[in-house]
């Protein structure tokens, strides 16, 4: 029997766990990385198929993955099966919990939108009085963003916007199309900034821990990766109160195992990390573990419009094409009056084709409508900050266990008027900009998806200076247990309107360097 005691045991191999492995192994620490899923041989696991060979012609098996609206019949097996790892919620308040279990985690599939948070997020309470500030600010995290962005090869255009700090970019000097320029000019008249989408170019097919972090960590000789190891509980020494390792179940054989380590870093994704801590009954002297679940509400096709000069196949390269990003522009000025706190961001594209459902026609006329608008559409997706509220929470549902006998989460989360009012403002404002730019608005959608849909859930192990109000300190370290760290999005204090991955990576790098330094000093 293997009885090695590792310096650090890391749970989860996605953005946060992968970055912890990358950082800690480079500092010479011996790390064991457990992931609940397999290490996928992509060439073998994914096969090209025409849609008509699928049993449901691309519709997917009805009722399967009912909460994963991102799933389709091609990729259904890529997501965690909710009959295998269920969760519960009140039928009146559905939550879309979207999960991936394989080496690389969700970093294999993210949309690669790469933004920094600003001090409008880190010091949100100072700005509007709601909730709590983060225990760090942008200056604290900037040196880590600076190092993470080149690893993920983030492209972008520097703008000097206080609400969207510039990064260490590969400059995006691609020209904007006429349609994009016209939209940006109309937006500018309303004091709405438009910039390039900031995106991780990655390497080859992925911008993932799988190809950008774990190979380097393995090359140090300090990393051991064990796939199919489902963490059940973190073990604790009753005398010292310190964590000693992790009990895990082997996915296929269902053997119950235990691995030992001097410290544990949890990066299993926001809600899985929280579930693991709750099931381990640790790190919750504050009573806020599992609370303050928040994310961004998400509306795809918030506004769909037609760019008239591109109708009937007349759109050329240069006339339409490309898109951009509208960072948060609401509630930045002191005393600005809106019927909601915080703000929203949007990304948009030009040169797409509108869906058939937007036309009140069928048969031959519908075909004419589709032919006439092909490549002539403007579309945008809006994402608004959901406020962190104590009552939005996860708890252990003691009545239900997953396929490995591990108690599951109950999720109790709902949006409020703040989010509804924000969504309406987003749609009305962007529709006005479209109109001002000379686009014909085809449809407005003020209805967002259920909480969870954006896959940006954060907040349930939040950090803070006050151990009574937070689970982690400013180093992502448990207030209660010095050798326990949580490095994923669960540590966020607010969701912001920006996609969270760059911040997760930077926090994990920062926490891991702190852990390595403290370990060297004998402080953990």
């Amino acid at each position: 029997m293997e009885t090695t005691e590792y310096d650090v045991l890391i749970v989860g191999s996605g953005a946060s766990g992968g970055m912890a492995a990358y950082t800690l192994t480079k500092r010479g620490l011996k790390c064991l990385l457990l992931d609940a899923g397999p290490s996928v041989d992509f060439a073998k696991t994914r096969v090209l198929k025409p849609v008509y060979e699928l049993p449901y012609r691309g519709f997917g098996k009805p009722g399967r993955l009912a909460h994963v609206l991102q799933a389709n019949e091609f990729n259904a097996n890529q997501w965690v099966d909710e009959t295998q790892v269920p969760y519960t919620h009140d039928p009146k308040t559905p939550y879309n919990w979207v999960r991936v279990r394989m080496i690389g985690g969700k970093s294999l599939f993210w949309a690669r939108m790469s933004f920094r948070l600003s001090d409008y997020e880190f010091k949100a309470k100072d700005h509007d009085g709601f909730g709590e500030n983060w225990p760090i600010n942008h200056a604290d995290l900037a040196p880590f963003y600076d190092r993470v962005e080149p690893i993920f090869r983030v492209s972008g255009r520097k703008e000097g916007l206080p609400q969207l700090p510039d990064g260490n970019f590969i400059p995006d000097e691609s020209p904007d199309s006429e349609a994009t320029k016209r939209f940006a000019a109309a937006a500018k008249k309303k004091d709405i900034p438009v910039t390039k989408i900031r995106r991780a170019l990655g390497k080859g097919p992925f911008a993932s821990s799988y190809n950008l972090l774990l190979p380097d960590a393995l090359a140090t000789g300090n990393l051991t990766i064990v796939p199919n190891a489902i963490a059940r509980e973190i073990s604790v020494d009753k005398n010292t109160g310190r964590v000693t390792g992790v009990h895990f179940v082997e996915r296929g054989s269902r053997r119950e195992m235990h691995a030992k380590a001097k410290a544990v870093v949890v990066g299993a994704s926001c809600l899985e990390s929280t579930r693991l801590l709750l099931n381990s009954k640790i790190a919750n002297s504050s009573g806020v573990l599992g609370h303050y679940l928040c994310d961004q509400f998400y509306m795809s096709n918030s506004v769909v419009a037609i760019i008239p000069e591109a109708r009937d196949g007349k759109g050329t390269r240069g006339m339409v094409g490309g898109g951009g990003y509208i960072p948060r522009f609401r509630n930045l000025k002191k005393g600005e009056k809106n019927n909601f706190l915080r703000g929203y961001a949007l990304d948009f594209s030009t040169g797409g084709s509108p869906d058939a459902k937007y036309f009140g026609s069928w048969g031959e006329q519908l075909q004419k409508d589709l032919d006439s608008t092909r490549g002539a559409a403007f579309g945008c997706t809006s994402m608004g900050e959901a406020l962190p509220r104590f009552e939005n929470k996860v708890t252990i549902d003691k009545k239900v266990v997953d396929a490995w006998g591990i108690p599951v989460l109950n999720i109790d989360c709902r949006y409020t008027d703040n989010e509804f009012n924000m969504a309406k403002d987003a749609v009305d404002t962007i529709a006005e900009v479209c109109h001002d730019a000379g686009f014909e608005v085809l449809n407005k959608n003020p209805k967002f998806y259920n909480p969870g849909y954006s896959i940006h859930e954060v907040g349930t192990c939040r950090m803070g200076d006050d151990p009574k109000k937070s689970v982690l300190n400013k180093w992502n370290q448990s207030h209660d247990i010095k050798n326990l760290f949580v490095v994923d999005g669960s540590s966020f204090v607010t969701a912001g309107s920006q996609n969270p991955t760059m911040t997760i990576l930077s926090l994990s790098m920062r926490a891991s360097e702190y852990l390595a330094d403290e370990a060297k000093k004998g402080n953990v």
């Binding site: 899923g37 073998k44 090209l48 025409p50 849609v51 098996k61 009805p62 389709n72």
Partner: protein, 221 residues
């Protein structure tokens, strides 16, 4: 035997599609089920090796015929009145256009009978009640079943589709059904073998069809 001839022409086109998409060489048959591993080619030419698959290529390929050439489909989810109405509705929503197969060529109603049979109860009710409502309105207005109406008569009953589309489902069940059917018939058609093969044979040419994707085998296999 029009149908059988059509099926044969599809088979003739399929390998060309496969090569264009850079999938497995035409000699490799597609996996019968997602879980079944694809046998890798043995030699450079993919045949004649002496490994695990040796000898398989000597097996005679039997001539086979499609079910459509020998039998008639009976709907098992919809009753015959509902199914006839669904066929008529499908034909109106997506007739053959610009040489592309329409919903009936793509057997969209047959597929929807299967899909709805496996769907959640609220979806099943939406379809059954929607088709019943179409028949009831047809009888009231034109004294015959929806399937027997002239196309312009049937189109009158589809007027609710002209209302601007909203994300909130319409309160009227018939309008809600018509919207669902418009979308489902379209997807079932453009994702059909018939539509895809015809589209590929026509060189794509701006026509939209379901195409090819990366299918994920089970991670547990």
């Amino acid at each position: 035997m029009k149908r059988r001839k059509f099926v044969q022409s599809l088979v003739a086109v399929t390998p060309a599609v496969a090569v264009a998409q850079q999938v497995a060489p035409p000699s490799t048959p597609p996996p019968a089920t997602p879980q079944q591993p694809v046998e890798p080619p043995i030699g450079a030419a993919g045949r004649g090796g002496r490994g695990a698959g040796a000898g398989m290529e000597d097996t005679t390929k039997l001539e086979i015929t499609s079910a459509d050439a020998v039998g008639q489909m009976t709907p098992h989810f919809f009753n015959s009145d509902q199914y006839s109405a669904l066929e008529k509705l499908s034909q109106i929503l997506l007739p053959p256009l610009k040489g592309a197969p329409g919903a009936l060529d793509a057997q969209a109603p047959q597929f929807l009978d299967f899909l709805l049979g496996e769907s959640p109860a609220d979806r099943q009710q939406l379809y059954r009640q929607g088709l019943d409502a179409l028949n009831a309105q047809a009888r009231k207005k034109f004294q015959q079943a929806f399937a027997k109406l002239a196309d312009d008569q049937a189109a009158q009953l589809l007027e609710p589709l002209r209302q601007p589309w909203t994300y909130d489902p319409p309160a009227d069940p018939l309008t809600k059904f018509l919207r669902a059917a418009k979308q489902d018939v379209r997807t079932a058609t453009v994702n059909s073998r018939e539509f895809n093969v015809a589209g590929a044979a026509a060189g794509g040419g701006g026509r939209r069809f379901g195409g090819t994707g990366l299918y994920w085998n089970s991670l547990d296999s």
